[in-house]
Amino acid sequence: MSRINIICVDDQRDVLTTVSRDLQPLNNHIDIEECESADETLELIEDLDSEGKHIAVIISDHVMPGKSGVELLKEINEDNRFVNTKKVLLTGLATHQDTITAINQAGIDRYLEKPWHAEELLNNVKELLTAYIMESGLNYEKYMDVLDQPTLLNHLRKRH
């Protein structure tokens, strides 16, 4: 069974480790990867994809050296291999214009502001993870303890 991955992206290492620390409750079922730049992320998703692993959620900072978070998410959004991959922008420094681009062109699923609350981040990621699993037709029963209930129920209601 191929593993499901969640990727956190932030160029500040202390912030990055804090984000992934907050997602540790998912660790039993999900692999949590860390990346310090957009380019590293793009390399990693290539690798993961070639190993047949699932990339469920990408949580990215915006302001980074090189490619910005919005550019990264935009690129992923345009890649048809990752149509179901959920995108989160986690930032404290996006301008109005960045935000508009993020929503209209990068198709982000969540916009979270720094500083964030661990619980809020975790809940949002769980919702997106659930949606990813259901939309990708993976066997949800295996991931029951890390799924978001309402999202799961909503998806199941439509199935007969």
């Binding site: 029963e141 909503n154 209601r157 439509k158």
Partner: protein, 472 residues
Amino acid sequence: MTKSNIKKIIAVIIPLIIFLLPPSFFPIENLSIVEKRVIGIFFLAAFFWVLEPIPIYATSVLIIVLELLLISDKSFVLFMQGSDAANFGTLMSYREIMATFASPIIMLFLGGFFLALSATKYRLDQNLARVLLKPFGEKPKMVMMGLMVITAGFSMFMSNTATTAMMLSILAPVLAVFNPGDKGKTAFALCVPVAANIGGIATPIGTPPNAIALKYLADTGTISFGQWMSFGFPFVLVLLLFSWVLLSALFPIETPKIKLAIKGKFLKTQKAYIVYATFAVTIFLWLFDFLHGMNAYIVALIPVAVFSATGIINKEDLKNLSWDVLWLVSGGIALGNALDKSGLAKNVVANIPFEAFPALALIVFTATLGLLMANFMSNTATANLLLPIIAALGTTMTSLEDFGGGKMLILCLTFSVSLGMALPISTPPNALAHATGQIQTNQMSKVGVIVGITGVLLTFVMLYVLKMVQFI
């Protein structure tokens, strides 16, 4: 090596060994080559369905393909060598094996799916829940009863999973406002899966084991949709009432008042009216088949045609049908056919001295086995595995005649299988409810075991009554 790899290896190796053993190894006289192969397929199915190295519906497809390859009349040349030998056995027609994908049972379920899908799409389910819950007021115990009645009622026609998903999402905001220490939360979270599991028993389309049972019952004398409901429905009512009393007693509710807010209005579009009408007509036709003569399978295709023609169910919606459930059932039917047509089932039954067993002990054993297995694996897979053997047993054991014969044994097993609900993994509704975080596994087990055993006892009572009125 990971756990799943070990499972895969066990599930493959043991059936393989069975395939390779010579017929003389088995303690069955005159075992033909084909019969031996069927034993292999049966064990493969059993191991795969129990250990689940691959999804259970995939096991079903595997069974059908293996049958086509090993015991069909148009299979691989090497496998058909010596088919003229005396002890080769009879090959099955490939058409017959393939036809399991579209057997009447599958059509019955397809009709059920179409009804359920249209109900959800046109919000008939949610709106009915809203209207039907109103009379139950705001007293927690009454609200719980309402929830259980509605859940059970819906799961008679919709899949138990979809019903549970809907009712739990209605319940979620209410669970959130309970006091932290209130045990009533557990009662509410548990009442939904319990009612969904029980409710499925009431109709032939309520849950897949019922439909599979219908197939074997057809061999021993048909039971119509209406007839099934005539005993299934009262059974569900009584068990539901018992569960309600049990839950209220085990988990007393402290919250004085509960208000379920369900949003929405009945749709008043033309298509919605078509859905309402088709729903009513289909159920009417199912219940009153003695008036018009059409059987349940044929009636089931009416909504399929109506909804497809009117665009109520479109191409996208078709993708939301649980094709996996249909395949799962097909595999079971194919397995049953193989056991039956190869003569293996009768052969085995004849070779094991069941006659020596007291009939009553056999009935109790059947129910217990069904209940136990269903607790640890899929109810449908349990039915797929056990029903063909039990059906064969029922028709050959003369001592059973006093208790209702084969019909009785099939019903006994089918009901028991649906009562397996002691663990979160027992049924999808259980898993969903457990995931709400309001129920501990031991609480679920306690309720599941009590309801399960009571249900089995109640089944015995029901069968006794049915025998009394000479129904079976």
